[in-house]
Amino acid sequence: MARTTSSDAAVVAALGVPAPAAPGSFASRLGRAAVLVAFVALVVMLGLTLAPANALELQYAVSLTLFAVATNLILGFGGLVSFGQGVFYGVGAYTVALGWMHHSLSFTEAMVLAPFFGAAAAIPLGMLALRTRRLYFSLLTLTLSQLAYVIAENQTNLTGGTNGVFGAMVPSWLLDPHTSFLFTVAIVAVAIAILWKIVHSPFGLVLRAIRDNRERVEALGVNVYAHELVAFVISAFFCSLAGSLFVVYSQSSYPEILNWTASGVPVFMAVIGGMYSFFGPVVGAFVYEFASHYLIEYTQDWQLVIGVVLLAIVLLRPDGLAGSLGSLRAWLRRRRPPVDGAPAAAAAAPESGGGPS
């Protein structure tokens, strides 16, 4: 791994990729950190003050943000459109549920093992899926997802079949909605921080370079296949972690969480929020989950509404809500008188008559 990383750094230098958004000035880093801390604090405060039912709903949304961000590691940053991440979500959920049902694993053991099982499953499945490219990759991962669904549904002795596994698999200390909410937030926050590090590491930059210009990166001597496989496995690791959190939320696991439409959900979340932005899928997950949850209370037609939203975004704003936010910010910056030192000053200058340069 160390060798790969060092050569990745060399590749990044060779490509002349502009430095990632991460460093920046001390002030902007501080500002970004403050926004992040404020956001987490807001979520935690909301979770603690909300009625138990709403806290539970928020907890589910938080766990889905991890599913969406983990999927987006290969989708937005790797350019691999997988309709099969539900497999790993399911592996995570079933690890906890079956560990409990067959009395072989304690809850803690299962929670720790779940992401590693997902990653282990991703090695052969990734090697298989990455034999194909682009559309065929999407269709093959969709097939794998459906295969996992059929197995979970039919191997009744092992998985409980269509009904899945229900029961007291979550320890009593986690049953209080506010505790389980905080538990979920803590795990998701750490996991997303790790994913952020990965995306902004030399490895993440090479992954993006592969997405944008595969041939050029290949010509630089990078093992493209190995990078994509590693990304696939990392994504599966965190998808499984999100799946194990699903059990904390629902105290059950059932086949529908790993079929192809379930695998499509994190993809849709990323598309709604913006797959080229790291936090876009987080926004997308909240929008998607609350839309489907609250729409169901008011209308039978939540699929229709989400379908229309998806269509509107994919046809009109392919970079999602995050992209819209970016263009809104650019628009505001152009209208506002330039602030000293702001990069927008240069862009605004020609419009304001163009002073001496």
Partner: protein, 289 residues
């Protein structure tokens, strides 16, 4: 022998209806390079439309209902093409998949309003209901109707693609759409015709199988998976490959049921994985450029 005949006819019938749906999917992909996840929706609409138009009477009216259903859904396909699909032609696979999935979602809700959430059924029309005896095996007559339809559709498609000017236009549209357009061919109209035909084939399959299945919501999502398996095995865009692949899937399913019912439904997925390991672009497809 009787057992073998029963299984063979059943397999051919399943493969036949699957071929007709998948042929529409592969035709659209071949001509437009668009993968349509809402293709199964047209199949479901075809089936539901027959339950509406045929009513309870099961005579000539059934056949009229099948034709009307196919035509109505072809018109719906034209609407989807004009409203959504023409904007995603030539776009990234992700854009096409998400946009057509959105169509699937929207039309699934519309179907709930039109036909409700319960299951519906239609009985086979007189003359082709019941069974006939061959070599000691009791075989459903209606299976022959489905097999006949599939053979007919296969022949018509083959003639259309290889012996008519529409066929060479479709093939030319894939190789060099700009050259075709500068030759005076209206590409938009060609795409509209192809997409409506694809919808028609899906609806025809859905309509023709109604006497053998229970028509219910969710059909759209399950048939699109089987048809995707078929076109992936056959090679996207190849009608001949689709026919072979439908047979492979049908046989995999039947053999699976005979060998081990609890694993039966996984056989077709393993068939797909096996094919893609050997030829990642499908049996009759070409490697992606």
């Amino acid at each position: 022998m009787a057992r073998f005949l029963t299984e063979t006819i059943g397999t051919l019938s399943d493969a036949g209806s699957l071929f007709v749906v998948a042929a529409g999917l592969t035709l659209v992909f071949g001509a437009m390079r668009v993968i349509n996840l809402a293709h199964g929706t047209f199949y479901m609409y075809g089936a539901f439309a027959v339950t509406t138009f045929a009513g309870t009477a099961s005579g000539l009216r059934f056949w009229v209902a099948v034709v009307v259903a196919a035509l109505v859904v072809a018109a719906l396909g034209a609407v989807v093409q004009l409203g959504v699909v023409r904007f995603v032609v030539g776009k990234e696979p992700l854009t096409q998949l998400v946009a057509t999935f959105a169509v699937l979602y929207i039309l699934a809700d519309v179907a709930l309003h039109l036909w409700g959430s319960g299951a519906r059924s239609v009985s086979a029309p007189l003359g082709v209901s019941g069974t006939f005896t061959l070599a000691g095996a009791y075989l459903p007559v209606y299976d022959l109707v489905i097999i006949g339809t599939a053979v007919l559709v296969g022949l018509v498609l083959w003639l259309l693609l290889s012996h008519t000017s529409l066929g060479w236009m479709i093939r030319a549209a894939v190789d060099d759409p700009e050259l075709l357009q500068s030759g005076g061919v209206n590409l938009r109209r060609l795409h509209l015709a192809v997409f409506a035909t694809g919808a028609l084939l899906a609806a025809l399959a859905g309509a023709i199988v109604t006497p053998q299945i229970s028509v219910a919501p969710g059909m759209d999502q399950s048939i699109i998976v089987s048809s995707l398996l078929v076109v992936v095995i056959g090679g996207l865009g190849s009608v001949v490959g689709t026919a072979f692949a439908a047979l492979i899937i049908g046989i995999a399913d039947t053999v699976g049921t005979l060998v081990d019912p609890t694993w039966a439904s996984t056989f077709m997925y393993f068939a797909v994985i096996l094919v893609l390991v050997v030829r990642p672009w499908g049996l009759f497809g070409a490697p992606e450029r």
